[in-house]
Symmetry: C2
Subunit: 232 residues, 2 copies
Amino acid sequence: MAVKRSGGSGKRPRRAKPAEQPRGEAPLSRERIVASAVELLDAEGRAGLTMRRLADRLGSGVMSLYWHVDNKEDVFDLALDSVLEYRKPPQTPRSRDWRGDVIHMLEDWRAIMLRHPWSASLLPRQVLGPNILGRLELLSKTLSDAGVADADLNAAIWSLWNYVMGATITRASFDLSVTDRAAAQQRLEDLSGHHPAIERSRLLMDDDWDGVFRKGLGFLLDGLAPRGHESR
Amino acid sequence: MAVKRSGGSGKRPRRAKPAEQPRGEAPLSRERIVASAVELLDAEGRAGLTMRRLADRLGSGVMSLYWHVDNKEDVFDLALDSVLEYRKPPQTPRSRDWRGDVIHMLEDWRAIMLRHPWSASLLPRQVLGPNILGRLELLSKTLSDAGVADADLNAAIWSLWNYVMGATITRASFDLSVTDRAAAQQRLEDLSGHHPAIERSRLLMDDDWDGVFRKGLGFLLDGLAPRGHESR
DNA sequence: TTTAAGTCTCGTACGTTGTACGATTACTGG
DNA sequence: CCAGTAATCGTACAACGTACGAGACTTAAA
């Protein structure tokens, strides 16, 4: 069996004669594959990504992809992580507003995933790509610097992560087309007799998702950080 | 096209001569299909559920399933909701411990989903089955009775829902086999230089998931409910 | 009794999917 | 010239969801 490239990040040696492809096609590479996968996912959704369509879009044969990528799950993992790069806004390296830093990073996270709705549907998987690890590292460091005790750090990080993921997944799966929304409303009205409290809270209609998200995040941060310990 | 049964809950008329099946197979029904689907999902996981295997297990032809069920997505929806029935513990109808009631229901919810790990992977979908609606109704009513203002009810319910879903999905996807856990740890150590804060918090090892869940839930409830309003 | 309309089961077949396998080509260092 | 190894890709296969339509059976009307 041939020794396949996988996992590692070995650089492909520069080809001596780059003018080979009949079309102006760049040679296949892991990066190009992932970039095309993200385009396809954005355009067609999760079910729209097939290895054949991906190969077509790249102008290559289907099986060529498998030299650079282990399997389709691998493509999903790479696409998910690739979209989650984070550049924190330029500011003094020792920001005093740790709370604002955390909120900014988490809202950015959520915004990205809502901009690429397929990413939410990919979430129930083990995600340890470099960009996600980078975000966790930043979160960890920020909270630590803010005075959260090492013993509580785990709980703090996971609570925030959980909250963001839950809010994003929920929001993404309830972000329906107008037709679907009408159908859902109709369905609720059919059952209105049985669910007066839901009816009264208008749970599934005209929600301020962003506001709810921010509010809940505030509650969590209030609870997680040592009170009266902030600098602002 | 034949008028297919769907959506509604029409009772199948009792068959006059019940001793028809060569084996002791009960006749096909939506309920039997869903029950078998849950068994199959429990045993083989999400990818293990195929219409053919499901039909085999029921001793029927594949296409017979489609009389009772719209398609495979429908089976997933039904299986998910069917598992989430909730019986609240017997107690005085007007419990004073609303906080305990909420915690009990949400922890039960999480426990069920961890007992059926496939349910977490199904989550990014619109879930409005009767059992889930029942839980939302109960949650809504409990919070309302506890003094949460109508205007805040939406935010309260969604925050709790989001938190529970996020925690469950995360927990389920990180609940690895021992081998996988070793691999993940190895991977982290490979990158240890780049992620000192994660390393220090021991984020991915020996976590007390249940404790973290409970703690974060407490913070949320503290924030959501009017403080000093509880009865205990 | 005959007829017609459901209700329910299921065999066959089609198109699509992920990917195993091996042939093929290009380029490298000896 | 040769051996190795990096990379591409055509063919083939098993498995999938499900459309279609033929049938068997039950019930109600004629």
